[in-house]
């Protein structure tokens, strides 16, 4: 039978606020355990939460960027459950009245198609701490509350995705947006952008949803892709062999490449949500929403469109270069230095990104500045160096963290040789040294031409203007 896959995602994005959502402790990551804690975020008796206004602003940003309605009346609710990383025995979240509702996100569904994924709701909540289980068989566990009370946005999609690839496309688009908005660093490995997936299958054509399972523990796009694909296959196997999918929460086991049962429906928590009496309802008025709207940056899809229209980039190139706000900013800075947008784009994609990928670093840490890259491309454009030499110089700039390509070309004696007389002399020398190859060419073996060009290049350390070298050589051989 042919099955349709139905996927909905719940994303938790950690907010990049300086302080926590309900106290003024730092949100910084990787500090000594329990350094960034106070009576509020460790749940001391009598301590009370006070909302960080910035978190609301970030939530409004996320909502506006995804076409949500921003609710004026916001209520925080307590989600009650016991776990040692949860200091108060409840998580302060939102339940009946979330900050944003009824939004959407357009994603590429391949072959130039777009798919609109509904966003059910976005709400604000606090993160939990982290348990540490040392590997020493002591049986002792530790808890670090540095992360407790760090602000999160939970972004819940509609079950609108129909494949693992679409799920990943949605995640990428959403991650781009929150990073563009400057509200989340998007780091999946450190857990500042994480997702759970609700997955079900149904016979194609059937309207009713199948029973869904919830997948957890996927900390990269690749893991999301693999986990969802595995789970879809698993569910199909269950159904095909006459069984029924059970509603449950399953963990992705990255080493084994499978999903395993974590807890069943009957073990599901009754969270006993109720409005938190320690926090007053938050009223968001139109003036606040307008102020946030005015401060929104250009979003990835809009910027991608502009790159195509303004710079004449192909969709692929524009998509790559707007993949992050920093990369797009870099590109535009480089174009400002050297105003031929297409070569800049090609260079960034083929050379710069390759170097960054090899070293596994981001554009923020790129040793070559947009100015440096622009200057280098100018040297190619005005004939000072060839494209081939430029690649060598670029590698050197990157390696030596230098951004003065002009000086580097001079110091290395790599200025392009375009003096006709000088080149003719060199060609003559090469032909004199390789009479057999010259004869072979004249005898009809055109393949040997490349060898002779190579010899010219060797003698000039690659600085010979390739077009001129070719022309002179051909004229000498055929003349």
């Amino acid at each position: 039978m042919d099955y349709e896959v139905v996927i909905g995602l719940e994303v938790h994005a950690q907010m990049r606020t300086a302080t926590k959502i309900f106290c003024s402790c730092s949100t910084s990551f990787g500090d000594e355990p329990n350094r960034n804690t106070c009576p509020v975020c460790t749940g001391q008796p009598g301590a009370l939460p006070v909302l960080n206004r910035r978190v609301v602003e970030f939530a409004i940003r996320a909502g506006l960027a995804t076409g949500c309605r921003i609710n004026s009346g916001n209520v925080f609710a307590r989600k009650n459950y016991f776990y040692p990383d949860l200091p108060k025995g409840y998580q302060i979240s939102q339940y009946e009245l979330p900050v944003c509702e009824h939004g959407h996100l357009d994603i590429d569904a391949g072959e130039g198609e777009t798919r609109r994924v509904g966003i059910t709701r976005i709400h604000m909540e606090e993160d939990a701490g982290k348990l540490v289980h040392p590997d020493d068989r002591s049986g002792v566990s530790y808890v670090d509350y540095n992360r407790a009370c760090v602000p999160l946005l939970e972004i819940v999609s509609e079950p609108d995705m129909r494949s693992a690839a679409e799920a990943v496309a949605y995640l990428k688009a959403l991650r781009d947006i929150v990073m563009y908005l400057g509200i989340c660093d998007g780091n999946m490995e450190e857990g500042s952008f994480r997702c759970d997936a609700n997955v079900s299958i149904r016979p194609r054509g059937q309207e009713a949803f199948g029973t869904r399972t919830e997948l957890k523990n996927m900390n990269s796009f690749r893991n999301v892709q693999r986990a969802v694909e595995f789970e879809v296959e698993r569910q199909i196997d269950v159904v095909e062999s006459g069984g029924a999918v059970v509603q449950e929460t399953r963990l992705w086991d990255v080493d084994k490449g499978i999903t395993v049962t974590m807890r069943g429906k009957e073990e599901a928590h009754d969270y006993r949500y109720f409005p938190d009496p320690d926090l007053l309802p938050v009223v968001i008025d139109d003036a606040w929403i307008d102020a946030v709207r005015r401060s929104l940056p250009e979003l990835p899809r809009a910027r991608c469109g502009r790159f195509m229209a303004t710079y004449g980039l192909a969709a692929d190139a524009a998509g790559i270069l707007t993949g992050s706000r920093a990369l797009a900013d870099y590109y535009e800075a480089a174009v400002e230095r050297f105003s031929r947008p297409v070569p800049v784009a090609n260079w960034m994609i083929s050379e710069l990104l390759r170097h960054l990928n090899d070293d596994n670093i981001g554009i923020e840490d790129c040793p070559v500045t947009p100015d440096g890259l622009g200057s280098l491309l100018k040297l190619v454009d005005d004939g000072t160096i060839s494209g081939k030499i430029a690649k060598k110089i670029f590698a050197a700039m990157y390696r030596e963290r230098r951004n003065d390509p002009g000086a580097m070309v001079e110091a290395r004696g790599l200025r392009q040789l375009a003096d006709g007389g000088e080149l003719e002399g060199i060609v003559d020398t090469v032909l004199a040294e390789h009479p057999a190859e010259a004869d072979s060419y004249r005898g009809g073996n055109r393949k040997v031409f490349g060898f002779l060009v190579g010899q010219v290049m060797r003698r000039t350390k690659g600085t010979a203007n390739p077009g001129m070298a070719n022309d002179i050589l051909r004229a000498r051989l055929e003349g």
Binding site: P39, T42, G43, Q44, P45, G46, A47, L48, P49, V50, L51, R78, N80, F82, P84, P87, K88, G89, Y90, V143, D270, R272, Y273, F274, P277, D278, L279, L280
Partner: protein
């Protein structure tokens, strides 16, 4: 045992400022009195003699230099053990926190310190403020200074008993459903529950967050005005604290009764009310009428549903507020078992007493999936109706006058096995908490058996001045305050 410095807070303040007495003398005398009397009374859970004397010495230096820190400089007070005190054990009357030493001071404790107050120690209470007799303290009962076989009321029983017995100049209590007013009434002292949001709850160990409010327990109405003035005010650390200016409560005390409209809610004179209580309260109301107040009967029709709504809302909030006592971070940890669940079960089974467990279970049930609408949501709707009752009558009257409790102090052990009877003791105080209103209990006489009776005066939101002024007018004309229990 006579008091060495028989003085209310207001008088004591004057005598300290004139240097007629020193804070050290008064503090030392009180510590001695505590040492002699409290073994039998059981008001204190912690006496901090060293800290108090150091505080007194510092206050005396300031007072000698003529630069008092604030209106309470050198005055020895005591705190209900529900207030977080940095470096001083805070038990909340529970085994769960028997050895718990907080890392921070509650906002009101900071304010008291800033005003120069000397803190003698921490006072007994029903465990986590759940109870009306202080018999639910995990450590010991407190006895009523007027009759040792009687309860002092609760949950701030230690506060009321200590003030009545002269074991401190004044005390702080907390009131969730009557926990300041009822013990004040039982012990013949003044107890005030301010408007919700008037006093910061930061550092008040939460029982029911939407109802809890701190207030003064004092010998006189003037004392309550003085102490409330120090406690009240906006606190950025408590989102529910209200940012309105704090009036000069002491200056407001001169306002006359004449011209005030006083409502007497008929639903508050219930069947089963003791005649002594009814008569004492009626006499107080008659007195006010005689002083030119216009007295009329009013109706608060939803009163009969208030207790039921309260025991859903308060327990629901409590079930969540008390989840943090899990053995992980502080307080008791019982981990004889194999795993995390055992630790939770053992810690909470052994750390909480029966009344606390009962309320956690009630509250958990009320919030459960499928029951939320029938219980918690319905209770909130009732709460709205109760509030509207008050709002409606306060369009016509300035104050309400009623008894605090249907009876005078009952005997130890009398109701402890009957939770419902115990809950009904708060029937006349609970509606005020549901509506977030300010109210006071002021002594208005004694029963035939010589037990104190309290008059409850309820006001509009943030009308503490009116309440205090009316209470003061009444108090001034009577000598109830002069009568002291024989100890």
């Amino acid at each position: 045992m006579p008091e060495k410095f028989p003085a209310d807070l207001t008088t004591l303040r004057r005598r300290l400022l004139t240097r007629e007495v020193t804070s050290t003398m008064v503090t030392r005398a009180l510590l001695e009195r505590i040492a002699v009397l409290d073994e039998r009374l059981g008001a204190y859970l912690l006496v901090d003699g060293e800290g108090a004397l150091a505080g007194a010495a510092a206050a005396d230096e300031r007072l000698d230099a003529g630069t008092p820190a604030g209106p309470l400089d050198g005055i020895p007070l005591a705190l209900k053990d529900i207030l977080s005190t940095r470096g001083r054990r805070t038990t909340c009357g529970s085994r769960m926190l028997e050895h718990f030493v907080p890392a921070y001071d509650a906002t009101v404790v900071e304010r008291l310190h800033a005003a120069g107050a000397v803190v003698l120690g921490k006072l007994n209470m029903d465990e986590f403020a759940m109870g009306s007799s202080t018999e639910n303290s995990a450590f010991k009962p407190t006895r009523n200074p007027w009759a040792p076989d009687r309860v002092p009321g609760g949950s701030s029983g230690g506060s009321a008993a200590a003030v009545a017995a002269g074991l401190c100049a004044a005390a702080l209590g907390s009131d969730t459903g009557g926990s300041i007013r009822q013990p004040a009434s039982f012990c013949g002292v003044v107890g005030m529950k301010p408007t919700y949001g008037r006093v910061s709850r930061y550092g008040l160990v939460a029982f029911a967050s939407s109802l809890d409010q701190l207030g003064p327990v004092t010998r006189t109405v003037s004392d309550a005005a003085l102490l409330l003035g120090v406690m009240a005010g906006h606190d950025p650390r408590d989102s529910t604290s209200v940012n309105t200016p704090v009036p000069d409560y002491v200056a407001a005390l001169g306002l006359p009764l004449e011209g005030l409209a006083i409502g007497v809610p008929r639903e508050y004179f219930i069947d089963g009310m003791e005649d002594d209580v009814r008569q004492a309260v009626q006499a107080a109301i008659d007195f006010c009428a005689g002083r030119g107040a216009r007295v009329e009967e009013v109706s608060l029709p939803h009163t009969e549903y208030a207790v039921a709504a309260y025991y859903l809302i308060a327990t629901a909030e409590a079930s969540s507020n008390l989840a943090r006592y899990d053995g992980v971070k502080y307080g008791l940890r019982e981990s004889g078992g194999e795993n995390l669940l055992d630790m939770y079960l053992d810690t909470r089974s052994q750390g909480f007493g029966p009344e606390v467990k009962r309320r956690i279970m009630l509250g958990t049930y009320a919030l459960s999936a499928g029951y939320y609408d029938a219980y918690y949501r319905k209770a909130q709707q009732v709460r709205t109706l109760v509030s509207r009752d008050f709002a409606r009558v306060f369009e016509r009257v300035d104050l309400l006058m009623a008894p605090v409790t249907p009876t005078v102090a009952f005997r130890l052990g009398e109701k402890i096995d009957d939770p419902l009877q115990m809950y009904l003791n708060d029937i006349l105080t609970i509606p005020v908490n549901l509506a977030g209103l300010p109210a006071i209990s002021v002594p208005c006489g004694f029963s035939a058996a010589g037990l104190p009776v309290g008059l409850q005066i309820i006001g509009r939101p943030f009308a503490e001045e009116t309440i205090l002024a009316a209470a003061r007018c009444y108090e001034e004309a009577h000598d109830w305050v002069e009568r002291r229990p024989e100890l």
